[in-house]
């Protein structure tokens, strides 16, 4: 029996979808690291929610309390596309001193897992590693988990992004990059 015959159409569709999502993330990371921020904004749906909660150290029986709540508590980010567009405008003006001279960033996305498909929306879990270096010696290293809702249309778009950083006390003075 040939290997080809053993691949069903649904398996093939699954592989292609996995490939499409991974290629989307590769392109996204490239846009961020190339500082093509306005093109990055195009990957976000108009109604996107970009949420990065604050982690707390909690008892084993309160796992739901470990991260602050979206639209309720203090968070690192809990905002929409207009806010993100303002952040981009701030960075590109040459007068946002926390990003002038600009950071050199490297975004790596891994462990991409399409966890759920519902209608035209995919829920995707992944891990991120972001290194950010500025000037001679400012070094920030962010790692964590991400849960995205990606919407399928003519292209994929990010409809919702949850960013779970492993740090509780942030070990960086600023969050001037995107995750």
């Amino acid at each position: 029996m040939s290997a080809q015959a053993s691949i069903t159409e649904s398996q093939l569709a699954q592989l292609l979808l996995q490939r499409e999502v991974e290629a989307f993330y590769t392109r996204e990371a490239e846009l961020l690291d190339d500082r093509r921020f306005s093109e990055w904004l195009d990957l976000l749906a108009g109604d996107v929610r970009y949420w990065m909660p604050i982690a707390r150290n909690v008892a084993f029986d309160r796992p739901d309390h470990e991260y602050t709540r979206e639209r309720t508590d203090a968070n690192w980010f809990d905002e929409g596309k207009d806010d993100l567009a303002k952040r981009v405008q701030q960075i590109v003006g040459g007068d946002h001193w926390a990003e002038e001279p600009r950071s050199r960033t490297t975004h790596a996305i891994t462990n991409v897992n399409i966890a759920e498909i519902r209608g035209d929306e995919l829920t995707v879990h992944c891990r991120f590693i972001v290194s950010q270096l500025r000037q001679d010696s400012e070094v920030n290293f962010f790692m964590g988990k991400r849960v995205d809702v990606l919407r399928r249309g003519a292209t994929l778009q990010i409809a919702h992004r949850s960013i779970f950083l492993d740090q509780s006390v942030l070990l960086a003075k600023g969050l001037t990059t995107f995750f």
């Binding site: 707390r56 203090a74 509780s168 960086a172 600023g174």
Partner: protein, 436 residues
Amino acid sequence: MSIRERRDGVAGDPADGIVSREIFSSETLFAKELERVFAPSWAFVGHTSQLAADGDFVLSRVGQESVIVTRERGGAINVLLNSCRHRGMPVCRYDDGNASVFTCSYHGWSYDLGGGLTGVPKLNEGYRGGLDRSQWGLIRARTEVFYGSIWATFDPGAPSLEEYLGDMALYLRDLLQGPDGEDDGYEVIGGIVKWKMASNWKFGAENFSGDHSHYPTHLSVNRLNISLSGKAERHPFAAVKAPFTFLNVAHPGGHTVRVNLYEKLSPYESMWAAVPEVDDYYRKCHEARQKRLGDRARLFSRGGIVFPNMHYNTGGRTTIGVWIPVSAHETEVWRWLFVPRNAPQIVKDTLRHFYMRYAGPSGMTEQDDMENWTASQRGTSGVWSRRYPFNYQLSPADAHRAWPEPWLGADAMVVAGVSEHNQRAFYTRWNELMSA
């Protein structure tokens, strides 16, 4: 003379606007600072709204030390050193929660919410009846609640909080009044914002004390109009056109505030036009506050510090923070975000969103402040740069006592306009404690 001799103590000559760079970089001075500046002071540790139920606790800090802030049955609030009397382990390992007892995970000594030692393994057979549990409770801080804010000191010789604050009590009370002027009018929203930065704690402290001349810092955020006034700038109150005098108010204890004193009681001018429901709320509050406070409602506070390391913002963004001294070169920052307790949900949501976009590591304003504080820090330790002091001589106008209104505080020393008066007062107090 290019290298000025220190002639007035450790800091240099702060009353004349000369401050040594070494006070930011010397680890020897840092160690002394923990004893002389932090140990005898009162520390802000939290707010009663964080402890809604009996048994609730939160971790906080007094200086560098971890403390547990607890609410006992009946509502009494305690601040306990989070360090087992047996071997020093933290007896509380969680940022917050509800408990009736804290049991050390090393040898099992356990303590109640007031810090009393309730359980010791082998108490009866192991100590020949000789362990007096009343002598081995958790170290308890002197604790005071001031209009909802919780304060603590471990120094038995420190004055009462009231005496420690002096006239600053007026401004702290004002901070904690809701926009309608009601006392204890705020609550903390969930999640304390915590981060570290490579800067001495005093750079943040002096900035909050009264730095009104760092205009280039915020050029980028100002052009983006993040204020919700619907107009340019980043502060909602920048939209108000009623005439006022900007005042730098310094108190003898090193506490300082920045306020707008309006010439007269004026009708509400829109500050939150981008969200009409919020604007409507603030309009009603403006009228209620004038009714409640009378002439004193002309005071519009913008921010300040309670010496040494508590800092706050008002003027539409009520936040309280502390600079936790880690080393001469590193500071941990904690920030509590407040919303008016009785406000409609849309007001609370709008303010929460505004803070996050404005302040802290994700804040479009404070990102650039921290760039300053960390970059200034690098300018304090060079073998040559550290020999040349910093300049705080901007607007060395004579300060007026209890001016222009006596109710600003009998001992308040006030300078109008952009000035480094408050920074001079901060370092003068620091110098007194360090040189004693």
